[in-house]
Symmetry: C2
């Protein structure tokens, strides 16, 4: 690549669907859920320092500053600290407000897996061409199954340089619609990866979600640096309405492009996804980490943490150990982790008097 | 009851089928597996100090002396310490060798549940009459299912005082035989509870398993007291062949009686048995102890130890936590715990050079 791009790594997620490992300051992006390296480190490594990429902006909350610094491994970066989580529109606005207007910003979640980084880089090169022509660029993942957990992007007309104008965004669909979109083609998953000129996004935000951008801009004006970290001002940032960049801008703007890319992407959105993507499985399809004893087990995901787990005669279950918490469930019910999170994180109720 | 009986509590078992809770010095009999009280304390309470019972003999290994003393709760007892485990024949020989010939000894495992203690006491009263007439008395449990995990006792002729002469002992049977015995009646489970005059058993042992008794007798002659604990001499005790009292004496002696009794007995021989006997189950048949969160779980046994366990969408499984060990398995595979025990307790193999 011959362009200089500023990576913007969104690091504010809680990743509660991967509870109990992901929680509090030890959020999903900082965990080794696929391979030895944390997802955050993998994300960093995708846009290495050097000719193509400027030092990244890392947008995160105060509770995660320590983990971010630790996992930067000394690489130069600018931390943009959100005083409060206000969804992706405000997070991106923070990066936009700190950037030069001509900067190309490459927004990436910090908790995804991309197996084929070369394919990603090729897509970025194409996307950068489009971004310089003031397209807001999304990268669309070629779907390989009718997943109902993602939003979809419908491609419109092909662009001369490559990629497509976006016809419309489709919210997380019912299965029937997902199957139909997979069958007819021309749809890709919205992975939340974007590329645009900062000034172009600023204009779009002032047009489409001015309240968000102005609140964030004020929080930047009243913010302060502490070493490599820029702390946005809390009271003004808190005035920004909470909205996703998709709702706030992408679905409304009329010059949005999609660059479809097949790059071994996964959002590792559940323990089922972690299991599916696990590379080192035994002959019975068990994926284990830590001190695990299996007897007649198949299709299991067992993560022992610092404990010892023994599994006898189980099929297709997850056993996840972290600290003093142990989670046991069928893998295909991974979405229901939220029930445990809700129960475990809710404060004790008032005493009945 | 108007007889004075010396309880002999066999406390040397390892209880490995209830791993990981039962292990090492923290053996099954010292755990609270049914109700709040440990099985050992429940066993003690079944023969309370007072008119009917002398202070008990507690036969145990050195590693369990601390737990025994702790759980005696100040009650008078004599600890008979086996230098090495040599099965029930040697353990009982140790009690016999320390007893007066005219003592009636009531031998009881320390890790069983008996719900109806009154029925047990009534059976003891009858058994004591027989024991004074030099019967070796066994208490036979009325079977309620064709269990293949127990030995069976076939009743022979009815005795005038009550009970029956034993026709024969049946080893753990195949299911077909167990079903037949249940159907035709006259069979009971061998629960390992015995009552006899000490001198009578001494004679029987000298007749049927002289090597065991003489080795144990020598270990007593060379033994020593340390407070309330009598330590048998190690080298002579170790010479006693390892055998069960059933094989060594009961199956060979020709004056063995059985007193059938229905007393809510269970040997709690597996996690399935612990589950079956658990009294406090929720509306979905879940039996839990400790900090457990359940979502759409049914028929589970979850023992959280000092950890927190969350179970989602599981049926009929056991999740047992103890210290750093976590065991997950279907309840109906509880017998296979031995696979985990073997793996977890075996030392690491030699390095391949």
């Amino acid at each position: 690549m011959s362009v200089m791009i500023r990576p913007v790594i969104l690091c504010g997620g809680a990743g509660t669907r991967l509870w109990p490992e992901s929680r509090g300051t030890q959020a999903k992006q900082f965990l080794s859920l696929h391979g030895e390296e944390s997802l955050f480190r993998q994300t960093l490594r995708r846009t290495p320092a050097g000719s193509a990429f400027l030092p990244p902006f890392v947008v995160c909350g105060d509770p995660h500053v320590v983990a971010v610094r630790d996992q930067m491994d000394g690489r130069e970066a600018i931390l943009l600290v959100e005083p409060i989580a206000r969804n992706t529109a405000a997070a991106i606005a923070l990066a936009v407000a700190r950037a030069d207007a001509e900067d190309l910003l490459l927004v990436m979640p910090s908790d995804h897996v991309i197996a084929d980084v070369d394919a990603f880089h090729a897509a970025i090169t194409l996307g950068a061409d489009l971004a310089r022509q003031d397209w807001l660029v999304t990268f669309g993942i070629a779907p390989d199954r009718p997943d109902t957990g993602f939003g979809y992007i419908a491609s419109g007309g092909a662009l001369e340089q490559g990629g497509f104008a976006v016809d419309r965004f489709v919210e997380k669909p019912p299965l029937e619609d997902a199957e139909r979109m997979l069958a007819i083609g021309g749809y890709s998953w919205n992975a939340g990866i974007f590329l645009f000129r900062a000034g172009r996004m600023r204009d779009a935000m002032l047009e489409q979600c001015r309240a968000i951008f102005e609140a964030v801009e004020q929080s930047v004006a009243a913010g302060r640096y502490d070493g490599d970290a820029f702390y946005a001002d809390a009271s003004s940032f808190a005035r920004a309405p909470s909205d996703s960049i998709d709702y706030a801008v992408m679905e409304k703007d009329d010059r949005v492009a999609v660059v479809p890319v097949s790059m071994g992407w996964s959002d590792l959105g559940s323990w089922q996804a972690v299991y599916n993507l696990a590379e080192a499985k035994d002959g019975n399809g068990n994926a284990t980490t830590g001190d695990v004893f299996l007897h007649d087990a198949a299709g299991t995901l067992v993560r022992a943490g610092r404990k010892r787990v023994s599994v006898i005669g189980m099929r297709d279950v997850a056993v996840i150990v972290d600290g003093d918490d142990i989670l046991v469930m069928p893998l295909d019910r991974s979405q229901e982790v939220r029930e445990a999170v809700r129960a475990r994180q809710s404060p004790p109720g008032p005493l009945t008097l």
